[in-house]
Every structure is written in C-alpha cells, then in structure tokens.
Symmetry: C2
Subunit: 394 residues, 2 copies
Amino acid sequence: MENFNFYSPTEFVFGRGRENECGIYVRKYGGSKVLLHYGSASARKSGLLDRVIASLQAEGVEYVELGGVQPNPHDTLVYQGIEICKREKIDLILAVGGGSTIDSSKAIAMGACYDGDFWDFYSKKAKPQAALPVGTVLTIAAAGSEGSGDAVITRQDGLLKRGCTTDLIRPRFSILNPELTFSLPAWQTACGCTDIMSHTFERYFTSTEDVEVTDRLCEAILMTIIKEAPRVIANPADYDARANIMWAGMVAHNNIIGVGRIQDWSSHKLEHELSALYDCSHGAGLAVIQPAWMEYIMPQCVMRFARFATRVMGCKMDFEHPEVTAREGIDRLRRFFASIGMPVNFQQLGAREEDIPHFVETLGIGDGEIGGIVKLNAEDVANIYRIAAHTPAV
Amino acid sequence: MENFNFYSPTEFVFGRGRENECGIYVRKYGGSKVLLHYGSASARKSGLLDRVIASLQAEGVEYVELGGVQPNPHDTLVYQGIEICKREKIDLILAVGGGSTIDSSKAIAMGACYDGDFWDFYSKKAKPQAALPVGTVLTIAAAGSEGSGDAVITRQDGLLKRGCTTDLIRPRFSILNPELTFSLPAWQTACGCTDIMSHTFERYFTSTEDVEVTDRLCEAILMTIIKEAPRVIANPADYDARANIMWAGMVAHNNIIGVGRIQDWSSHKLEHELSALYDCSHGAGLAVIQPAWMEYIMPQCVMRFARFATRVMGCKMDFEHPEVTAREGIDRLRRFFASIGMPVNFQQLGAREEDIPHFVETLGIGDGEIGGIVKLNAEDVANIYRIAAHTPAV
C-alpha cells in the first residue's frame, strides 16, 4: 500500500426533507450572505429553490442568486460568480444542483479569494491558497462532487475541460435527499450511475498489489450500482434504491475507497475531450470510453480484470484461460451499460472517428504518457478512441 | 434507509514512518503544549516514544507525559490527566497507543473542558459541550477509536464499563503506520481483528431493509479481515496485510459503513460486562459473545444470516432450508475465530457461568430491552450468556 493522507471533513446531511435544514447548516458553517448558485429552471419549477430560500430566510441569511449553470460548466459563469462574490461580500456559496453546479461553485469559491485569473488553478500556473466555504444541496447522484476536493471546468474559448483538486474546496456540508432525484429522467439517472462506476474503476484498476481492503470497498460500490440502477430506472420513485445510489456516489469519490493505491484516470481524461467537443453527457461518454480502455489494456493486467469479472460481474473463473474470463467481464459491463440505455460506441454517442486526431492533440500528451495501471502514449490513446468508434452495438 | 448525519473530519496520515511527522500535525491543529498520553513500557522500549518526542521538539511543541494506560482504561488515570491539563494549560492531547489510550485521551479531553465530574458524560447526567483537540499515533488496529467519536471507560470502583459518543472527540488527526503493529503478539493481533469484525457485525445485522450500499461495504470489511488476519499471524511483518487491516479497522468504525441503518450493539454491551469483571481482552470476549448472540437471534432473521453466510463466509445457499445456510455461516465464523487463536466459550475465556446473574444485573436492563435487529430482555441476555458458556470447543 502506498503512503497517503485522507481528509474528508464534509458534514453529510442525508435523508427525506433535509433540504429544509439548509439555512441551519449555512449558519453553522459561518454563512450570513450566500451566493445561491444553481442550474436549470427545474430547481425552481420543482419548488426546491423556494424551500431552500425559505430555509435561508428562516435563519436570517441573505442571498444573491446566480442560476444558469449548464452541464460541463463553463468559465464564463464562474467569472460572473467571482465578480458577484467580491462585490457583494459573499461569505459562503450554496450550490443547489448536481456536479456541474457544485464544480462551478467550487471554482467561484477559489476565484473569490484570488486576485489573478481563477483559470491559473486549472492551467496549473498557480496553486489555490484559500477558498470561500461551499455547501451543497445535491439533486443528482453522479459526480461525487458533494464530497470531493475536485472541480472540473470547461473553458468556453478553447473547448478545454480541465480539473483542479484541493482539500480547500471540499464542501463544508452537503445535503443529500434521495427524493430530489425522483424526477430525474432515466437517461440522466443512467449517466449518473455510469459516472459513479467510472469513479470506482479509475481507482479499482491499479498497479498497486495487495490492497484487499480498497479492492473490496470498490467492488462493494460497483455491485451496489449494478443492483440498484435497473431498479430506479424501472421505478424512479424507489426511495431506498435512490438512497443506495446516492450514498454510493459519495463514497465512490470522496476517496476513502481509493487511498493507498495508484489510480488511473485515463478514461476520464479521454472522455473529457468528448464532452468538451460535443457537449455530450460525461456519463454517456464514459460508457463508451471506459470499456474500450479496458479492452485495450486488459492483456497487460489479465488477473486484475479476471478478479473484476468474477467478483463483480458474476463470471465463472476460467483458470486455464483467465483472459477469457477477463474479456467476459468487460463484455458483461458493456451489456450492462446498454441495458440501462447508455451508448457503447461513437455512433450511439454522436461522436465522429475523424475527430480522433483532434482529441489526441487537445489531450496534450505530446511525447509523454498518461495513466496509472498502464502507461499510455498518444498512439495508445488514438487506438482506444478507435476501439470506441468501432465497438459494435450490443 | 434511515435519515442520518455523517461527519468524519479526522485527517488520516497513513504509511511508513509517518509518526515522524506528528509534531507537524500537532502544530497544524493548534497544539503548542500537549499531554503525551500512552500505555505500557513497549512504546518507550520500541523507540516510538523517542521518535514522537523528537518530532514534537523539532516543531517546538512542549509536552507533559502521562503513561500507564491499561487495557479497559480506568477513570483514575482520566482524573489524573484532567488535573494535569487544567494545571498545565494543555491545548492538545496526543495519544500514542491503541484504543485504550485513545479512549482515555478522549475522556480527558472532555473532562479538561468541564467543571463537573467527567463521568457525568458516561452516566448520561450531562452532555459534553467542548473538548480539547485529540491527535493519535495508532499502535494497534482494533478499536477504530482513531476515527470515531466514541470512548469507553471503566469505573474502577463499581466495575462499570460505559461509553460516550460525540463528534467533539473525533480525533483531529490520526497517524496510522502499519509498521508500528509488526511487534504485536499474535494474540493481540487476533483480538484486534475480532474487534474490527464485531464493529462491522454490530452495523451489518440490522432490521433496516434495502440498504445494499452499506451491506456491501460491511461485507467488504469482513472479507478483508478474513483474508488478512491469518496472513499477519503467519507473518507479523507483512506490511500490506497489516496495512489492509489497519485501514479496515478505521473504516469499520468511523461509521461510513453503518449510516442509515438501525445498528445493534447488544454483543458489545454483553461483552463489556465480561471485560469489566475479568479484565479480559475486549476482542476475546467478543469472539465468545458475538456468535452466541448470532445463534440466539438467527431464527428471527434467517435471510440476513443466510446473506452473511453466502456473501461473506463462502457458504452455498440452501434455498429450501435457508436456516441451514445461516447456521453454517455462524459455525464457520466460530471456526475462523478459533483458527486465529480466539476463545469460543466461557471456559476458554476464563469466564464463569455462575457470574451470569451478575452480568445481567450490571447491564441494568431491568424490565427494558436492548438491541437493534432483535430486542432482547433480561432473560434473552441470560440465555445468550448461557449459550456462550456451553459452546463446545472447536
């Protein structure tokens, strides 16, 4: 096991109706004037925003609204948010939404405490030294941003999608009410479940040996999603299934299951190019990329994929031909993604093979490599995109 | 799933040699004059205490020593520690040891900020309102106290063993170096592993339906210990096996795997009476009590025990007679405990059947009940003790 630090100080407030307590938690974590940051009109239409505002008002918390966060959140709104925070002397940012809204809030939180351009933290020109506190009211189980120190932002001009990671932006509190996810369409629910599984895969597929505890914890999350995703798609108001997915989404990404092991994150990097260019759902892009990546690297780490196939996907181990078991696990995963309505190839995603050189270039690998379990150079990456382009429909 | 709050703000500092950084973390969390609290002479003999002191001195941190913590830590030393903290204006307590030392430190931390008798928090006469920050350098994977808000203290005069739970005493930082556990005798290692499994069982065996995510996470911890305990007993210096157990011990008890479900804790309550009277190891007592409790309540929740038997203990499901599978799972658990050197009955533990009425009385159930998955009255409790008394050797 590798040495590590693990720090997850977020207070999670989980369950039915808990959004009505958000004013109390804003106060508890020092907020008196908040930036109320949210996405689409649905938060208003559903009445969620009204309940949040009522809770803020009950505690005498002032607020300034900033709506309009889009999936794959853009830097433009971040700049707007930073400007409001500085002008209005905001002391806490309350994100009401999913990963995009929370990531946008985190970027604003860092930018509000910085004199330069917040993008410096994303281009790695500067390291964040401070951030306003962030609280969240989560409306989709997917990104895990409610419990992570990560925030991904897309730059409008260059179609660049980049991440920043620091404990400074771990939310102080996150309110998780599974009921708020009842109204999600099946498509978004499935994208969210795919994202949760992918966050787990990025940790599970490792070159670190002998890390049974985090292996088993990763497998626990994967098996949970495989069980619960079809249930919520069949019955969107199944509270317990929604609740299992919601907690799994947090556990998958606050890193308690990923510590002490080399992580990979190639699939996320490859996918970010797709969603940056096509503005497709991150989860849908992952459903296409992750199995293609698995197929490509599997021959170099057969036993880990055989473990995945038998422990998670329910395959019988072929002890004479473990690679057969390994491949069967990847096939079953693709069939699982298809069964919940996810695309499995470029065509279904709306991606074009001719854009592959663009993706490879934008990834900026140059003569370098990416990846943890297996190192990938630019040619490897192109090959993985090509597998994703040519995967037959399930 | 039940509503819950989850808050685990401890910074975990994990890996080889990390105790040499403890001065840095003491400073980070506001310590300038610490109570250095520890147990036996082994911490000094091994050189650990010297390394800790060197790290404190390197950061200019003053310290006052208080050693002598015993297993099943007593209130007498807690009173002494509180007196020192008040007199010396201590601002952080650094526990170097296992669960007993950490629990003793937590009790001191609360008592140092309270004008009355700290036992008020254990007799439930008062609720703690403040506590000094606690940091830990862990030397045994067992109690999970390094990441929990719990502290158990034994009252010297009346042989009462009682617990107190509050987020106030969650450690600010905990340094976990698996190397520090290499020198533990097989007996203590096995007691620790049993304690970790029991912390998981108390959460796993629940009456809450449809909690797949925490079910799977609990199973992950149990399977990890079942794999790794025999490895460290065979090879005490197996770093990776020790590391897996150490992280599992934290995860088992910081409650991330137990949220949203009714927990039980009857076995812990029953065991506390044994270790209070005989001063036996808590883990050894649990190895005797927990399977007896399982045997007694299993007929009322057959399918949960069948799940345990198949998912964790590797039994084949008997779909026509699930209770056969359920019983086989309990039998296998007992054989596992015996295989790592644990007692499975009163005689092996050094307990006496004639003390059962004393245990039942001291538990103080009266006409009430204890337990989560199944409610137990005083007669049930006596029956469980009797099963533990009469279990045949494995």
